[in-house]
Structure formats: C-alpha cells, structure tokens
C-alpha cells in the first residue's frame, strides 16, 4: 500500500513538526513559571524573559496547534475519502514547506532577539522584517495546505454525487474556510502595513487599524484550535466509547454556526481601548455571545452520546451510564478531562466578553488562566488523546497496554498541573496581577507583594503547576518518539485504526442546505461587513499613524 503511506507520510511530517515545537514551547513555559513565581528572579541576559515568552506563545499557540491540526486533518481526509490525488498531495507538501521556511525565518529572528514582540506583535513595536515576512509565508503555506484538503473533499463529492459527504471531511472544510477567512485580517496588516514599514518603505503605521485587523484574526484563531478538537469529539469519541454519533446533521450545523459567529467579534478583545465607538463594541459583544448556541449543542451531543453508549452497555438509572465510560483508555480519558476543563473555561469566556466585566480581568493573569484551560487543556488534551492512536496509525506500530498506562500518567500530570496553575492565575487576575510581565514586586509595593502571600492568589503556584506540566510534556515527547520510531511494527490484527463513528440514524440525510458553502460564507461576509465597515472606515480616516519603536 504505497499510496497510503504517501498520504500518511505527509500527515506524519506535520505531526512531527508539531511535537518539535511542543518540546521547545513547554520548556519555555517552565522557565516563565519559575521567573513569574520568583524562583529564578532574573534569567541570564541572553535569555530574556520576553524572548522566552515570545517563543512560548509562537511555538505552542501558532506552530504546535496548526501543524498538529493539519496532520490530523490530512490523516482523516485520507481515511474517510481515500487517497489524495497527486496534485492535492503535492499542494499539501508545498504548503508544509512554505510553513517551514516561514517558521525558520520567524524563529531565528525571535531567538536572535530581533522580535521580542510576543505572538500578538502589536505595532508600534517594530521587529525585524524577516519576522513579518516569515509570518506571511507561514500563513500562505497554511492556505495552500488547507485548500488542498478542501479540494480533496470537493473531488470526492463530485465522484459520489448521491452520497452524504463524510462528517469528518465536512468539518475539515468548515474549519479551513474559517481559517482562510480569518487569516485575511492578519495577512492584511502584515503584508500591507508591517512589511513595508519594517523595511523602511513607510515610516509610520496606523496602530488602531493594525490591532483591529489582528483581532479580526485573533478570535477566530481560537475556534480554529477548537474545531479540530470538536471534530475528534463528534467523529471519533462515540466509536471509542462503543456508541454512535448522536446527530450527524446537528454536528454539521454547529460547525456552520461557528463559522458564521466567530469572525465579526474581534472588538471584544479591544473593549478597553479608545477610538472604537461604544455601540460598535456592544454589537460585537452581542455577536460573540451567539457562540453559546453551538457550544450548548456540542455539550448536549457529547453527553447524549455518552448516555446512549452507556445504556447500550447495560447501564440503568438516571446516571448509571457514567460508570460505563472507558476511563482507562487514554484516547478517551484525555479529551474527557479536557471537556471537564472546558465547562469553567466556557463560563470564563462569557465573563471576558461581557463588556463591563472585562474591566476587571482585561490583560490580567485571569486571561492567561482562561486560555490555558481552553487551548491548553480542552484543545491540547484532545490532541494528546489523538496522538496516542494517530501516531501508531501513521507509522504502523503498536500501541501497547503499558504505553496506555504511561499515557494516563501523562494526561493526569497535565490535568493536575493545569488545574493548580490556572486556578491561581484566575484568582490572581481578579486581584489585578498583570499578564505578560516578568518577575516584579513593583518596588515592594504592598499590592504586588500580596500576590506572593495569598492562600490561592499566590504566584508560587505558577512554577508548581508549570513543573508538573513540564514533566507531563517531556513524557509526552518521549511517548511520541516511542510510538513514532521505537514501538514494534504492528501485525495485521494489532494495527491501530483511525476511529470513525457511525451515525445513530444513518438513514437520516443531512439537509442539502448545509452543504451550500457559498451561502454560509456569504452570510459570514455580510456579518463581517456589518460589524466592521463603519469603524474601520473611521480608523482609516481618523486614526493617527505612529513611527516604530524597539523597546526591548
């Protein structure tokens, strides 16, 4: 099966790249925790805190996630819709290498100290042009790979006009459309504003416009991380627990709703800033909250499939099915723990976007705690669960019981570390402790000293949590290497499969309208224009431009 291994090799290249940056990023995370808690008060000058912080954010939030998602997606579209055509596969590789070139350019400038601008790179902080050019290449590469996957889906659909498209493929298309539409914002600010400015072709930059374009991208970015985890929850988890997909159509509808409501909402990250009218902020806050609907749909679906799987195994009573879930299977346990984290994380997200409440938490450690339990727990723990079967599936090796036990240790360490760290971060945030800040007592100010003396609100929990997370991540990297290169080759009946569930009601076809992508993208564009046109025109005409600064 040479063709099969060709597609899987592409998927594996993405996954291996993802784990390289997982390794780098989590080491940086440990260093930050140690500094922030005051265990190491000052890093050596060549390893400045903000350089470490930039590397942590870029490695984990951008590089680990995106590479992992593409590896998972390529493996899944191959599994559900067959071999990629030679052209599609070549485009997939083309995108991969463009992303690698872009990544090297950005990472080298960060490590050289020429781009300590954090992964949000807000102007007028001015990094080396190589940083911005690297980012642009990386985004273009991700588009090329994303379009390749979508092409595979539409080719399949053309060849199977009477059949329902595979749910996994549908979700891949939804996620990639979201990603491409979202990236238009960051591409605009990087290519049209930052590259000419950093090369000295223009001497000033419109800061508010740049921030707005960034957050047009920045919020859907978090759904781009989340939707692949949802794809795993909807498509694979029912199979792992011996159940079926609760409703294929509603799963598709929830992805459409995410596509529509995740982009015209970026102002909820800019609620504290001048230059944006209160009415426009409020409109985007309201649109942000619409995401509650697909989130509630997903929660319902998950628990419904848990319950029906449990009852199928003979569970009785109202909650008997809880006992029938396979907690000893890391492929289930890891995303399940992630789901539990996602309940407070979702509530926290509603708080963050709630206009006035944001005043208390904006840019405090609360926000850091929030995204460590969303992307750092719900999403990443789903990715861990995927890794344990996807890597042996791709490499044709075995996944043994002892590997599963080590896997359980790994995810429990992660969950405990994350719980300790994120709880302290949330509470510290309520007391005003700032995010993205090196060790500081602000000249022994009593307000700041309290952040080292609280029972829960204590920055010492950060290095404790970070240390457990570090242990877990090193174990994960070891297990990845083992499953990729060292585990015994699987015989035919040991082969690890990509779990794809069946629908509870396969006879029920999803409504044709759900496949009308032009309609959904059209609605998405209309909402974006409604939410952004007037304020962006205002920024173009009124926001003053500023020269660049290098303050690090």
């Amino acid at each position: 099966m040479l063709a099969k291994s060709k597609d899987n090799r592409l998927a594996f290249a993405f996954i291996a790249t993802a784990f390289l940056f997982f390794f780098i990023g989590t080491i940086c995370g440990l260093l930050q925790g140690l500094v922030r808690g005051g265990v190491i008060k000052q890093l050596p000058y060549w390893l400045d805190y903000y350089k470490v912080l930039t590397t942590h954010g870029v490695s984990l939030a951008l590089l680990f996630t995106t590479n992992f998602i593409y590896g998972f997606f390529f493996a899944g579209v191959h599994k559900t819709m067959g071999n990629l055509s030679a052209k599609v596969r070549a485009a997939g590789w083309g995108g991969f290498w463009l992303m690698i070139i872009g990544t090297i350019m950005a990472v080298v400038t960060v490590l050289a100290g020429d781009a300590s601008v954090l992964y949000t790179f807000y102007a007028p902080l001015k990094a080396s042009p190589f940083f911005y050019i690297g980012l642009a290449l990386w985004v273009i590469g991700s588009w090329v790979s994303g379009i390749a996957m979508m092409a595979h889906y539409f080719q399949w659909k053309k060849q199977h006009p009477q059949e329902t498209t595979p749910l996994f493929g549908y979700m891949v298309v939804g996620t990639n459309l979201l990603w491409i539409t979202a990236c238009l914002g960051v591409a605009a600010t990087v290519v049209l504003q930052m590259i000419p400015w950093s090369l000295g072709m223009t001497d000033k930059i419109n800061i508010l416009l740049s921030r707005t374009l960034f957050w047009y991208f920045g919020h859907p970015l978090v759904y781009f991380w989340l939707l692949p985890a949802y794809a795993y929850w909807y498509v694979s988890i029912p199979k792992l627990i011996g159940g079926k997909i609760f409703s294929d159509s509603l799963a598709r509808l929830s992805f459409i709703l995410f596509l529509i409501f995740s982009i015209p909402v970026g102002f909820h990250h800019q609620l504290m800033e001048p230059g944006i009218g209160e009415g426009w902020k409020f409109i985007q806050v309201s649109l942000t909250l619409m995401v509650v609907i697909p989130s509630l749909m997903t929660a319902f679906s998950m628990f419904a499939s848990f319950e029906s799987a449990g009852r199928r195994k003979g569970a009785t009573g109202l909650f008997g099915w809880w006992k029938k879930l396979p907690y000893g299977d890391v492929r289930f346990l890891s995303p399940f723990l992630g789901m539990l984290f996602f309940i407070p994380a979702g509530i926290g997200g509603i708080i963050n976007t709630s206009y006035q409440l944001d005043e208390i938490v904006h840019n405090t450690l609360w926000v850091v705690g929030h995204f460590h339990i969303t992307v750092g727990a719900a999403v990443v723990m789903s990715f861990f669960g995927i890794t344990y079967w996807l890597v042996p599936h791709l490499t044709g090796r075995t996944f043994s019981k002892s590997m599963n036990r080590l896997g359980i240790l790994q995810v429990v360490l992660w969950a405990v570390g994350m719980f300790i760290m994120s709880t302290a971060m949330h509470v510290l945030g309520l007391y005003g402790a700032p995010r993205r800040t090196a060790y500081s007592t602000y000249g022994n100010d009593p307000v700041a000293l309290d952040w080292f003396h609280g029972l829960v609100a204590n920055q010492l929990y950060l290095p404790i949590g970070a240390f457990l997370l570090f242990l877990s991540s090193m174990l994960m990297v070891y297990l990845f290497i083992h499953l990729a290169f060292l585990a015994p080759k699987a015989t035919a009946d040991e082969r690890v499969d990509f779990p794809i569930s069946e629908a509870e009601h396969p006879e029920e076809k999803p409504p044709v309208i759900l496949d009308k992508w032009k309609l959904w993208v059209g609605i998405c564009v209309v909402l974006i224009l409604l939410a952004y046109s007037v304020p962006v025109m205002d920024m173009l005409h009124h926001s003053p431009a500023s020269p660049g600064y290098r303050t690090w």
Binding site: S249, E273, P274, K281, P544, W552
Partner: protein, 161 residues
C-alpha cells in the same frame, strides 16, 4: 433535520438566557452609563508633550469635587509618577501614550485603560476608600515593562481636620 425534544428545551433555555443577558448588559451600559474606558479624541503621537492638556500633566480641578487627571504614559513610566486625589472626588482620567501601546491599570478597581498611541483614553472613577493605590502597565511594552508603575494616594481631608 430531527432535533431531540430535550435538546429543543436545552437550546431554548440557552437562547432565552442569552437574550436576557444581552438585554441586561445593554441596560447597564446605555441606560445606566456603565461603559469601559474609551474616548474618541486623537492626538499627534510624536508631539504629545507639546499638546494640551499633556504639556501640563497632573491633577486639575474642573468643578466642585471634580478633577481631571492628565497623564502621559511612556516606556517605562508615567508622567506624573504620583497623584494625590481627595476621597470621594469624581476623577476623569485623560491619558495617552507617547511611544508604544501601554495600559493604565489600577488593580482592584474598574480603571483598566488600554493606551493606543495617537488616541486619548478617558475613564471616570470615584475612589471610595482612602489610602495607597498602585498603578501598573498590563500591556507588554518592552524590556522594562515589569517596572512601569505609578502611585495614587487617596486622601481623606475630612478625617485630617
């Protein structure tokens, strides 16, 4: 498309809660006037120190028990770096940055302003407790970001007399 009866209840409840929540937020914002910091004025970010009111930063009385605090943020500090404010006075903070993006944040209050160069941020606040307040920058601004701070002393004149 079939939707389970319980799911209809669940989504119906969620949607109603959402609408009620947005209406409540709308009333507190636009009827009661509780808005986060904002501001529509602009300024040339390269000439901040020559442009009023930032050519004379500090606390200025604007009415009976009403003040305006004009402050300039820069890497890595504020001008002035200390303010004394009478207890119970209504203070309007008017702040801009002369270089990169900063914030003006008073922990444990609702004063949390993002300062975008070229724009002037405003926020009204009344201090109800006397004593010392720390002001810090919570938007990364460079190598000295963790040192960027100022102090506010809220003075209870009545109790001194």
């Amino acid at each position: 498309m079939h939707i389970h009866r319980y799911e209809k209840y669940w989504l119906g409840f969620g949607f109603c809660a959402l609408v009620a929540f947005i209406i409540f937020m709308f009333i507190t914002a636009f009827v009661n006037g509780h808005h986060p910091s904002g501001g529509s004025e602009v300024i040339d970010p390269t000439h901040v120190e020559k442009t009023p009111p930032f050519d004379n930063p500090g606390l200025h009385q604007t009415g009976e028990n009403e003040y305006e605090a004009d402050i300039v943020a820069m890497a890595f500090g504020y001008k002035p770096n200390k303010l004394e404010i009478p207890l119970g006075a209504k203070v309007k903070f008017v702040i801009t940055s002369q270089d990169v993006v900063h914030s003006f944040t008073i922990p444990q209050t609702t004063v949390n302003m993002e300062l975008v160069p070229g724009h002037i941020g405003t926020k009204e606040y009344t201090f109800k407790k006397p004593g010392h307040y720390l002001v810090l920058c919570n938007e990364y601004c460079g190598a000295g970001h963790q040192m960027m701070k100022m102090e506010i002393e809220v003075l209870d004149h009545a109790s001194k007399k």
